[in-house]
Amino acid sequence: MADSPHPHSTEGPAGPVSPIESASPGRHGMTRRRALGAITIVSGAVIAIVVGIQSLRYLISPIFGVPGKKRWQTVGSVAGMKPGEVRKLSFVMDQSAAYMTEKVNRYVWVINDAPEGSSKLDLVVYSPICPHAGCYYNYNEGKNQFHCPCHQSSFAVEGVVIGGPAPRPLDRLPYMVDDQGSLSVEWKVFQAGEPKQILISY
């Protein structure tokens, strides 16, 4: 900093008028202008790219993957189920999503598929969610069929589609029965509308 010839000069709003250095169209002036412009743009771009990439990772982070925890849910008793019998078993399970775990009410359809006259259990457990559009379907006792009220898909008790737009049979859930006749099920939700089972959450 050179010594100023006017150390006590004052400054008004307009300020003193000086020649504008870089407004002169010299070649040197232009390259310097460009270089400074480039520094500005590169600095801004570096910040924007780093924050942009990290933010994008951060924002899409939870949207893939299968939420919830895989575990056995004790559903209820299947003791004394007769061959061909259909039961709706309700239960309460812990549903985990992100940082919260809540108690939710669920139910499954259980069918004893053992041949007539047999005293043993041969169970099939269905997810109650229609594989067409994700509605909850009902059991029609008279017809011995499952029927979805949303788009009229019908399923035989064996799970196969016998009418309507459903693209795949009913979803079976893995299960276990202990010696007391208590049924445990692995709750799974599959993508609706797909011909194949695609697991989307527990």
Partner: protein
């Protein structure tokens, strides 16, 4: 280009931007002008990262802490984004002060820039408001207690203090309403005000321009773009790199979840408010409001009146010696107070190491407490006995609080921001307070001899296994700290549930308890200070401990379970030609030399054995599992 022209024709945006960028800077671009734009950059960074944090954060007592932990631990880039916000906040406060100090030293607040200075002073207050409200949002102990103290200080303001405190807290106490209020203020109200004021600040800046030093007046004018902009951008990039490195190297802190009952937590505000925290210690009692209200109020009044008081027109640094000196003093005081508040020992609160306890004095303190001469146990629990209003003090001595501090705390808890605990200064003699302080410092550190007057050692009690059980279950003797008995207690030492199975004589057990080292067991503490009646009772109880004998193997039941498909082994495995093909053939599994434990662990968690296909059977009742294992172990034999 045509498109740009079209847009500019209709809106004038391009011309306006060009106009703004090509503003002339009298005396040319300078590095020393970067601080204002650096504050703006910090604000934009806070706004952007704040919006991203709001994607996941939820301001409720049940989820605030959990959502911040989720951001930190479960989300890709979450640690970095919160780190930017956390460190960016500190940098913003620092930059605001640097910017303000520079304006002050240069005398840039003077005519014609008074309005800019006033707006800037308002911006300073709002930035501090952001820092204060943001500090609570993670809802950890630091947040809770820092805000507790901060709002209490506001409550000391005469006349309006109580109203301000209640308004901020949404009631008398910190709770769910405080969190949503602070959230709304932090996310909507202050940012809205900041944006408006920043715009106003910039408009005024456009009107008045930079404050050129007299020494620069004769130098050529340069345009803002690109000459000054390149310097601003370079400095912002440098800031960004430093903040990013801090966010990565030293991630934002998240302590334990806020626990309003943990009054032993030492509240501390964010570092930039620490000086105020330290300052308060110099103004005890009713003088406190001088520091909490008086000094900040004076500071604000001085700030606001400054441009109207100082009407000098000198424009050289030499004429600003007083301002430079004053800024230096303020900086020094601020650094000094902050440093003092950060001294590791604390001002006499925490001793440097374990406190040397005067055992005789502590003994007297203990007798006062257990004879209920002092009502400590009405609220506090010590070694299993007492109330649960206050914190459990059983291991209080481990906090290394100095005896002098404890004496002052017991005499007048309100002085230490504890409004719940009653003061004992009036009802106890100083030496009694001292004894209690020594006793508190001894808890969990020194084992004091049991009292003669203890009802436990009264001669009327006879040694019995039942009394021994009570001693252990009521935790009067600390067996369950390390041992497990029938599922109760802490693992560490051996499980004593089946201690009686070895048929040890009770007298030998008594000797063992008195001095385990003699039986080459140096880890276990000695219990020779216990009265004989207690030792004998403990021994009698211990030798009586026997678990029920295990049931007979039941392979038939296991076979039935598998064949009936109640346990679906045969869905995948084959036994004697019967079953599925997915898993291995189990027909000879019993002859492969595995023990029961192996089967149990394998069935409960096949993954642990590298088998990720087989489902775990962890939820089977023990009897069912045992029957299945019994059956499997017979296969091939």
């Amino acid at each position: 280009m045509k498109l740009l022209e079209w847009i500019d024709n209709r809106t004038g945006f391009a011309t306006a931007v060009k106009d703004y960028l090509e503003e002339d800077i009298p005396g040319g671009a300078r590095w020393r002008y970067v601080f204002g734009s650096a504050v703006l950059f910090a604000f934009i960074l806070q706004a952007v990262t704040g919006v991203f944090l709001a994607f996941y954060y939820t301001p409720s007592l049940a989820t605030a802490y959990e959502s911040v932990r989720y951001i930190m631990e479960d989300l890709n880039g979450g640690k970095y984004i919160r780190g930017l916000h956390y460190w960016g906040a500190s940098f913003m406060v620092v930059l605001v002060f640097v910017h303000m100090a520079q304006t002050f030293i240069w005398g840039a607040y003077r005519k014609p820039r008074e309005a800019m200075w006033l707006v800037g002073s308002l911006l300073l207050l709002f930035v501090l408001g952001m820092a204060f409200t943001g500090y609570l949002l993670p809802w950890d102990n630091a947040a809770y207690w820092g805000t507790q103290v901060g709002t209490n200080i506001m409550g000391t303001v005469p006349f309006v203090g109580d109203f301000i405190m209640r308004f901020l807290r949404g009631g008398a106490d910190l709770g769910p309403l405080t969190l949503t209020r602070f959230y709304s203020i932090h996310v909507f109200i202050i940012p809205g005000a900041l944006i408006l004021l920043i715009l106003l600040h910039l408009i005024l800046f456009r009107r008045n321009g930079v404050t050129t030093l007299a020494s620069d007046l004769q130098k050529p004018t340069q345009p803002f773009w690109p000459n000054q902009f390149a310097r601003d951008a370079t400095f912002s990039l440098l800031l960004f790199i430093v903040i990013s490195l801090l966010a990565v190297v030293s991630p934002a802190e998240l302590g334990e979840k806020a626990d309003p009952t943990d009054v032993s937590y030492l509240p501390r505000p964010a570092w930039y408010f620490l000086f105020l925290f330290e300052l308060l210690k110099f103004f005890p009692g009713r003088w406190e409001i001088l520091a909490s209200v008086g000094i900040p109020l004076v500071a604000v009044i001085v700030l606001w009146s400054l441009p109207f008081v100082d009407r000098s027109t000198l424009r050289t640094l030499a004429s600003r010696r007083g301002a430079i000196g004053f800024s230096g003093l303020v900086l020094l005081a601020w650094v000094g107070f902050t440093y003092a508040a950060n001294l590791p020992a604390g001002p006499g609160v925490i001793a440097a190491g374990p406190v040397a306890v005067d055992e005789a004095s502590a003994q007297r303190g203990m007798e006062m407490v257990s004879s209920r001469k002092v009502d400590c146990l009405e609220c506090h629990t010590i070694n299993g006995a007492g109330g649960s209003v206050g914190p459990d003090l059983s291991a209080f001595g481990k906090q290394n609080k100095s005896v002098a501090y404890l004496e002052s705390y017991i005499a007048d808890p309100a002085k230490h921001r504890n409004d719940i605990m009653p003061a004992y200064g009036g009802s106890l003699k100083p030496e009694e307070t001292h004894d209690l302080a020594e006793y508190a410092a001894s808890l969990g550190v020194v084992t004091l001899a049991p009292q003669v007057s203890s009802p436990i050692s009264a001669a009327s009690v006879h040694a019995s296994a039942e009394f021994g059980r009570e001693l252990i279950v009521d935790r009067k003797v600390a067996c369950l700290r390390c041992h497990v008995i029938n599922g109760q207690g802490k693992a560490g030492g051996i499980d004593l549930s089946n201690y009686g199975a070895k048929e040890r004589p009770a007298q030998q057990v008594v000797e063992y308890l008195k001095n385990p080292g003699k039986f080459s067991h140096p880890v276990m503490p000695q219990f020779q200070k216990l009265p004989d009646v207690e030792l004998e009772s403990l021994a009698a109880y211990l030798v009586s401990l026997k678990t029920a004998p295990s049931k007979k193997p039941n392979p038939e039941l296991g076979k039935e379970l598998l064949m009936s498909k109640k346990i679906p082994c045969l869905s995948c495995h084959t036994i004697s030609g019967n079953g599925g093909q997915i898993g291995g053939d189990l027909s000879g599994i019993g002859s492969e030399g595995h023990d029961r434990k192996f089967f149990e662990q394998y069935l409960r968690n096949p993954k642990a054995f590298g088998n990720s296909i087989m489902p775990p059977f962890a939820s089977l009742p023990p009897d069912t599992l045992n029957a299945v294992i019994d059956y499997l172990m017979t296969l091939g034999r």
